[in-house]
């Protein structure tokens, strides 16, 4: 088997001394430089929520709280500070996807591709052709909605949702609408949305019928507990499993699942009727219909009223013994059951940890989880997601955890799809007609796309450990689960294609289409190309929050300097973007 000599990067770390000599670095001049990022200068005496005190600090915050820092956002954040920025974002008009689909549907069929288009317009913050001249600015809400969509999972890969673009769009809108609300309301929105009804088969769930050997469907009952609220194991206030005799303690058992399954009987699409109840699930529903986007409705004839239902048991549980006595209506019982879940002590740390993982770092300290969970558990305002999000992003560990004892393991692998989104955040992309045709299914190139998970367990699990050093150190690395050999090649190739072919002025055939998003290098980065160090510094700030190591900077500047500054600077810009976006240092957000 022949291995090409260019793959010199395969050499082992230097601890195997004998091999080090064989691993001649291609760029020797870079060897003496530090491989650690430059420190971000900061004030030593302020609270974490004060500031930011530098462009780099502002960029770093924005790269956690939004889909990517821009020069304008950095400048604004430095002017107003974190607190005002949050207040502005909380007050910013929410962007929703369904209105875009309504508009697009006036002229053509609407499928999941159009939903992705709406997602991009809202998340990248693009000009909205459905509502000109609006440009979407609710970055924090959209970023949190995306995080929520990876915890509360619905997927257009489900056969019942594949052709239901309004169902998935309105699902995402429901997440966005609740992103700054209360967890309890979010949980109800999640439970009753028809997309979830279809995805986890609560729609049409019915009371037991012993003659027909029919039992209530346990699907939603199980996953709302395991994935959307409390998880499988009892947690302490810091999110660590409670151990008894060295073993974790289960939060519920099969009887509990059956209890909730009985609660969740009697719900169907809002255009259903009692007479048609068993058939409504299989009936055709037009994608744009209210049935596919508005909450399911109760049908008492199919709701179980005869059994006492075992719900969750925990200290000070409101229902005696966690037992819901029979007789309630479908809605009354749903309310009681969701109250029973939302008050469980696991919810705070369970949700806190996952939000931290989605936005900040894969391995938060228990104390960090505990601080955010404590905010969640506020007695007067339990589950106030505004406060929780602020607590996640303004925690001392969010702001300063990258330095200090955990400096070599803080942060997370960037989600591959968000690399593309961040590229577009900084390159002022636009299409001629305001529409966006991706040409490919992003999950083929990025291993993910909004609401396109292969299962309810998301693209990756919170506890995934990349084999090797990460696993040996007992760390978790969720996003590594999709960093497969296939995706590690496919993602750079799609980025390559877009960077080198889809820009304003490109002569590439596809780039001539009016619905192609073309990056405007001339208006953004080309002017810096004459000075490679300046170009690299700009990308360092925007993409890497000023954390690029001297080593990496030197590799890039050396490479760009050797490249003729042709095409108005575009050549250097393209290579710089490609090399940064596919580098290990950028790929780990710290």
């Amino acid at each position: 088997m022949h291995i090409d000599g260019r793959t010199g990067g395969l050499c082992r770390p230097r601890r195997i001394a004998a091999l080090a000599l064989l691993c001649a670095a291609p760029l020797l001049q870079a060897q003496g430089l530090s491989h650690r990022p430059d420190a971000i200068w900061r004030h030593g005496f302020e609270a974490a929520s004060a500031g930011p005190f530098s462009d780099a600090e502002a960029a770093r915050f924005l790269n956690q709280a939004t889909f990517g820092a821009t020069l304008g956002d950095i400048q604004h954040l430095r002017q107003v500070g974190y607190e005002t920025w949050f207040a502005e974002q909380f007050a910013e008009a929410p962007s929703y996807q369904a209105p875009f689909l309504d508009w697009a549907g006036q002229t053509a069929g609407v499928y999941q591709q159009q939903r992705l288009e709406a997602w991009l317009i809202n998340s990248v913050g693009l000009y909205d052709p459905s509502n000109p001249p609006r440009v979407h600015k609710d970055q924090l809400r959209q970023r949190v909605a995306f995080a929520l969509s990876e915890i509360f999972v619905v997927s257009d890969q489900n056969p019942g949702l594949e052709l239901q673009a309004w169902a998935t769009a309105s699902w995402y809108d429901m997440l966005a609408a609740n992103a700054f609300g209360r967890y309890r309301d979010l949980l109800e929105g999640v439970t009753l949305h028809p997309a979830m009804g279809v995805y986890l088969s609560m729609v049409g769930n019915r009371k037991p019928d012993t003659t027909l050997n029919i039992r209530p469907d346990e699907n939603y009952a199980r996953e709302i507990l395991q994935l959307f609220s409390i998880g499988l194991k009892q947690l302490d206030a810091n999110g660590l499993p409670v151990l008894v005799a060295g073993q974790p303690v289960p939060t519920y058992n099969q009887n509990t699942v059956r209890g909730f399954a009985h609660v969740f009987t009697g719900w169907n699409f809002n255009d259903c009727s009692t007479a048609a109840y068993p058939d409504c699930v299989g009936d055709y529903h037009a994608p744009e219909s209210s049935a596919m986007r508005d909450p399911m409705l109760p049908f008492e004839a199919y709701h179980d009223t005869t059994t006492a239902k075992q719900l969750l048991v925990y200290p000070n549980v409101a229902l005696p013994g966690g037992l819901l006595q029979p007789g309630g209506t479908a809605r009354q019982e749903l309310t009681a059951a969701l109250d029973n879940i939302a008050a469980h002590p696991n919810v705070g740390p369970f949700i806190a940890r996952q939000l931290i993982q989605r936005l900040v770092t894969s391995n938060p300290s228990p104390a960090y989880v505990g601080r955010v969970a404590a905010v969640f558990n506020d007695v007067a305002a339990r589950g106030d997601l505004r406060a929780v999000i602020k607590a996640v992003l303004l925690d001392v560990e969010a702001r300063y955890g990258y330095s200090g004892v955990n400096t070599d393991r803080y942060g997370k692998l960037r989600e591959p799809w968000l690399k593309l989104v961040q590229l577009w955040r900084i390159t002022a992309p636009r299409s001629v007609n305001g529409r966006i045709n991706l040409l490919i299914n992003p999950s083929q190139s990025y291993g993910q796309a909004p609401l396109r998970s292969p299962s309810v367990f998301n693209f990756f699990r919170p506890g995934f450990q990349q084999p090797g050093e990460i696993r040996d150190l007992g760390l978790v690395s969720p996003e590594f689960q999709i960093a497969t050999d296939t995706m590690l090649v496919a993602t750079p190739n799609d980025l390559d294609w877009r960077i080198f072919y889809f820009y304003v002025g490109s002569s590439y055939s596809y780039a001539q289409d009016p619905d192609q998003l073309l990056m405007d290098y001339a208006a953004t980065l080309n002017p810096l190309a004459a000075d490679p160090a300046a170009l690299v510094e700009r990308l360092n700030l925007l993409l890497m929050s000023g954390q690029m190591s001297p080593f990496m900077r030197d590799v890039l500047v050396t490479r760009l300097t050797a490249l003729t500054n042709a095409n108005g600077g575009r050549d250097r810009v393209q290579h710089a973007l490609y090399l940064v976006l596919n580098s290990p240092e950028y790929s780990i957000q710290k």
């Binding site: 088997m1 080090a20 289960p250 393991r409 050999d485 090399l579």
Partner: protein
């Protein structure tokens, strides 16, 4: 986490590294080369195991269905609207020493004609009521809680994981495919190429403590275009400089660089091998499972170019979590499974390797015998299929459970059937055929001794 075993494996590795030859094949290659340095023997023959994982929990009670009047009556009463019509079942005619044991006659779902052919030709066997177990357990013991059972029964993620680790007593265990490879990979002539290959993403089944799995797509390997672009040698050099190990100060950055470097090394080697070996001529269904098994067949055909004599593959098909609309969804999945397994068997026959390749199914769990209206819920035990020339086919193995809704001593409750064969026993039988020594089988399956039989007999001795 089995710290002792991992420590042992790593220590062996460190010791061997001292004398390892120089290799430019990356971390994986070095690890493997190091492990081989001490052993010296390679397998004389070729064998492959193919795990076909049915994600979501296959309804095996609608896959293999009783067809004689009395047993069908019991089934139909339990299954109501979801019962497969009796006159559509494809009759199975097992050999006299492979009868199901419950006196019933069975048939396959009407979408599974190809599988029925494999069964009739003696190339497929049926293993009854397999599931995750720590000990054998009766209904009474289950209800009284006197015998321990795996944690989080009926939960997808947990049970799918336990099927793949066969370590219900260890939540951090590696996969049993990976553990087999840890012990056997040194017998492969080429240590640079992983003997563990997964289609459709990383699989826990294929996670070893030493050997890393290679994940390939159904359509083959793609190259990093930037590294191969004309006139971009300097760009490629910069790309590689940033990826060179030793250039990262952060644990995750190093891990990313390792994964990336490994991906490049793998596609170069596998791409070259696939090109040199060429495709099989057997036609595969253009389905999700068909495409995966087609790629497996291509990789088996390339075994000489890859210089591998033991390979373990993991393919998967999703959508089996049929809580709703089961009658619409399940038949198509079974059809894909049946046609794809038949095409795969035919491809191994084309390669004259039918007796050396064994495919077997696995799934999160069986489903409930009871229904929820238009679907079924999460169960426990379920039937599984083993396909290949080495299978003592046209036989049932194990005991087919009762499908009665009342008074059923196989029922853990709500029609979730208590398994009578453990995943351990299933895995041990496959691992023994694959060539793993008895001591190795005990090492990878420490709970195997809890069960009466170490070999279920569905594979021929070699």
């Amino acid at each position: 986490m089995n710290t002792t075993r991992r420590t042992f494996l790593r220590r062996s590795l460190q010791a061997a590294l001292g004398g390892a030859g120089v290799s430019a094949l990356g971390q994986l290659g070095l690890l493997n080369a190091a492990m081989a340095a001490g052993s010296g023997t390679t397998f004389p023959d070729y064998k492959a195991l193919v795990c076909v994982f049915l994600h979501g929990g296959n309804d095996s009670f609608n896959t293999i269905v009783p067809r004689d009047a009395s047993h069908y009556g019991v089934y139909a009463a339990s299954r109501g609207a979801l019962a497969v019509p009796q006159n559509q079942l494809i009759a199975l005619d097992p050999l006299a020493d492979g009868l199901p044991g419950d006196g019933a006659q069975y048939g396959l779902h009407p979408q599974m004609q190809d599988l029925a052919t494999l069964f009739g030709d003696g190339h497929a066997g049926i293993l009854a009521n397999v599931g995750t177990l720590i000990h054998p357990i009766t209904q009474q013991q289950y209800q009284q809680g006197t015998v321990s059972v795996p944690a989080q029964l009926f939960s997808h993620e947990d049970q799918a994981n336990l099927w793949q680790t066969s370590r219900p007593d260890d939540g951090n265990a590696s996969g049993w495919g990976g553990r087999i490879a840890d012990l056997m990979h040194a017998g492969n002539p080429n240590q640079a190429q992983s003997m563990l290959v997964s289609l459709e993403g990383q699989a826990l089944f294929q996670r070893g403590d030493v050997v890393n799995q290679y994940v390939i797509g159904s359509y083959g390997v793609e190259q990093v275009s930037y590294l191969n672009a004309w006139g971009n040698d300097a760009g490629a050099a910069a790309f590689n400089a940033l990826l060179q190990l030793g250039s990262q100060a952060h644990v995750f950055e190093r891990s990313y660089a390792r994964a990336m470097n490994s991906a490049v090394a793998n596609y170069q080697a596998i791409g070259a091998a696939l090109n040199a070996a060429g495709d099989v001529t057997t036609a595969f269904p253009n389905s999700r499972l068909g495409r995966q098994l087609h790629m497996v067949a291509r990789l088996i055909k390339a075994r000489n170019q890859l210089d591998l004599r033991r390979q373990i593959f993991f393919v998967s098909l999703g959508g089996f979590d049929t809580h709703g609309s089961q009658s619409d969804v399940h038949p198509g999945l079974l059809g894909d499974l049946s046609q794809s397994l038949k095409a795969f068997y035919d491809a191994t026959a084309e390669l004259s390797l039918a007796n050396q390749v064994t495919a077997f199914t696995a799934s999160d769990f069986g489903r409930t015998v009871s229904i929820n209206g238009d679907g079924t819920d999460h169960g426990w035990g379920g039937h599984h299929l083993i396909v290949g020339g080495a299978v003592r086919g046209r036989r049932f193995y194990g005991r087919m459970p009762s499908l009665a809704q009342n008074g059923n001593s196989d029922d853990a409750g709500y029609g979730q059937l208590i398994p009578t064969v453990s995943v351990d026993q299933y895995a041990a039988t496959l691992a023994r055929w694959f060539g793993l020594a008895e001591s190795g089988i005990d090492d990878i399956l420490p709970n195997l001794g809890h069960f009466a039989s170490r070999d279920l007999g569905f594979l021929t001795a070699t």
